[in-house]
Symmetry: C3
Subunit: 137 residues, 3 copies
């Protein structure tokens, strides 16, 4: 049986926001002991990553690299209606994840010791980001 | 119960091809109301992305960036049996998705308003690309 | 019903290691005929890719590109506790996959003819990498 919950996360500018606890709560409330948990974000300029959850400078460095790979306001972009972070946000979504699928083991998301789930806001402004978590098992 | 359908999509050169309607039809025919839908492509030089579905120049710009990150005919490539788009196609697949997993909500793929599912052909020629859609719920 | 198996894979330095046979065995032992198989790695400096399984130079070239996109020991990295391959490993994980989801068809992972599943060790040393395979159907 499928269990599905949605939540809205308000971001405050380009950054990574840990949502591991939200995912854990939904998995716990599903009652599923063994199965899969899918976290999906309904946007094309915010995405999801699993990242090291101990040292915050890891995520600073991920941002450094994404700025190189998907430059803001690149002169070659044709799509820039909403500013310098518009098209770069779409590229960053392509290079990261629209959804993350995690095993459920003993009623919990089976993440490694150093793995956290993060919502990555790629725009400079504040947005309400919709996330759906589906648990099957 | 799992519902699975396959289709073949004929590409006509490097480009993005929207397949959202194919995915919607298979989800509808599965009868699943709440669950997950996985779209999988059986190739290593064509892949899948979720992208902004309103302005086509978004996908032009994604292509611009992929050409930088995975250059065609790069002099360092050792694998080039099938031409300049051979190895770049494999790199592009690594940087994008072999499969996309989407929540099913109210009998439909729960995509955001601006999200479309695209098959990304990375080769210059025309190919028959096999896709499998699996719906669980 | 969900079937779940775990295994540990000992890596010997930065390289790609094929694990397709391990995935096939777990799918076969699950008895699932039609469904989905998710392969998840519990680490942030080793990841998973689907790659061309015929010519090994494909994976040499993927490595060439990842070294460009995620340089080892980049002077801009702030996180380098464990050496030059520490932060680059995290970036490589962001650009590749924490998990891979494959359709199960006729009791087997429905991979294309040229698709293999690889564990990608991004660190220079030898590590015990934990992988969980979940089969639903």
């Amino acid at each position: 049986m499928a269990h599905q919950n949605k939540f809205v996360f308000k971001t405050k500018g380009r950054d990574t926001y840990e949502i591991t606890d939200r995912v854990e709560q939904i998995v716990a409330s599903s009652g599923v002991q063994t199965g899969l948990c899918n976290v999906f974000i309904h946007h094309t300029s915010a995405s999801l990553i699993i990242s090291e959850n101990a040292d915050p400078t890891v995520r600073v460095d991920l941002e450094t690299i994404l700025q190189r790979l998907a430059p803001d306001g690149d002169p070659e972009y044709r799509h820039n209606y909403e500013g310098d972070d518009d098209m770069s946000g779409h590229v960053r979504c392509m290079l990261t994840n629209d959804s993350i699928t995690i095993p459920v083991t003993n009623g919990r998301p089976g993440l490694g010791s150093w793995q956290g789930v993060y919502l990555y806001e790629h725009r400079f402004g504040s947005f309400d980001r919709k996330v759906t978590v589906t648990v099957l098992g």
